[in-house]
Symmetry: C2
Subunit: 247 residues, 2 copies
Amino acid sequence: MQPLFRRLSYYSKLNDDDGDALAKLSLRDHSYAPGEDIIRRGEKTSQVFVIKQGWAVRYITLEDGRTQVLNFMLPGDIFDLQVFLDDKVDHSVAAVTKVTTTVVNADSILSLFAQGSSIAAALWWTTVQEEGILREQIVRNGRRTARERVAHLILELHRRARIVGAAGADSMELPVSQILIADALGLSFVHVNRVLRGLEKDGLIKKNKGVLTILGRSQLIEACGYSEEHLHLDGPPRRLSFMAVAE
Amino acid sequence: MQPLFRRLSYYSKLNDDDGDALAKLSLRDHSYAPGEDIIRRGEKTSQVFVIKQGWAVRYITLEDGRTQVLNFMLPGDIFDLQVFLDDKVDHSVAAVTKVTTTVVNADSILSLFAQGSSIAAALWWTTVQEEGILREQIVRNGRRTARERVAHLILELHRRARIVGAAGADSMELPVSQILIADALGLSFVHVNRVLRGLEKDGLIKKNKGVLTILGRSQLIEACGYSEEHLHLDGPPRRLSFMAVAE
DNA sequence: CGAGACGTTGATCTGATTCAAATACAGTGG
DNA sequence: CCACTGTATTTGAATCAGATCAACGTCTCG
């Protein structure tokens, strides 16, 4: 649960009890090869899991093969608290790199909620974050140019990776093909390539092996009007407001 | 709470107690003029409300004025269960027509959850629905052509309107300007107009005053590969799985 | 070393945008 | 009831951002 702990403690000070509680959530690990599906659309999952290592994508494929990536999942990301509804999931999740997940004991989460643990608040907060990211994805793809989209995505992914300790101050492993980026941004991979090369030519970024370096952060930000409101970086409240009510 | 009751009872048989419980949620009504903001980005809301009458949109505006509609809100739609986190909202909501909202007592909702009422399950289910709609919005705008987008949106809106009794079998009041449709679909309003006229010319739809009629449903469906999985029409479970645990 | 996947680049095409101007339409005030 | 005003719709013409097609380079890994 390192990445999740890291993520949660990035904002709110978690104490040792919280750490223990988190550790106890973890049931067993599972790992997936690159490209492998972790969850397939239409399945009913009764499991909550957390990405422990590696990158994954949520995605949907149309009948004719066009595919849209909804969101990238990094270590520390959770799938899927809505499981309590026991409904069929409406999208798939695939491993991008080798991925290790930790299956989480749903009952334990529930008792955390029942106890009013600050972990519960933090977990709920991650779902708020995730929805914010989804909404931003809509705006990005709906109302931004290709160059803006790419710049914006890079900044967002770097920020998220940094939070879980998977990135340096201005560089990160980006183990994601241009095809995937295209499917996330609603562009053709050819055009993504051109935009990327353009950003390099302009000295805003650099890519070497799998490592992307941000050379001109301020210009990159300016190039797309990046803001981080949607990431809800204020951090979770100590407790959910309804917990007070429940007492 | 008619529209909400209608929506919830469309799937699950609610009994009289449930109806009473729902009725008790309603605190007071409020109404808004067309174009008026109901919630503004950056505000902290501590209120949950339900659309009682009229249409609204969730939207985000970029600094330079480009705006993206995230989702349409119809009678029976709820904003915003995540309020329990007491966080700043990352998007705005504006009335499209004259809108009447009912402010809901958050505490009452919470006690419904605590009691394990089937209403609570149904409410949670509405949030699952809404996320499904958001994800579909991403796919639609990311990987579909203009014509597909328009056809798909029409079918989705009609279905949603029908559920809350705001539409006939193949027609509906669509009080939404082409500008708004464009902002929802990531297109220019000029092009939306052309596509709409194209669909009319092909005899798939008809628009008269504010009323849109679907003339060729099957062709419309075929034109965009419409499916309703994302609406999660199976309906909510009787109760949330964690309620059993809580006992 | 060979195969398959990914990246790069050029040439060409097109779906959608932009610009512009002409209706249609709804609401307001006289 | 009509003229007036602002807003939405419609249509045409020109343009462009990004897609498609095609070919070639590069890396990885069995």
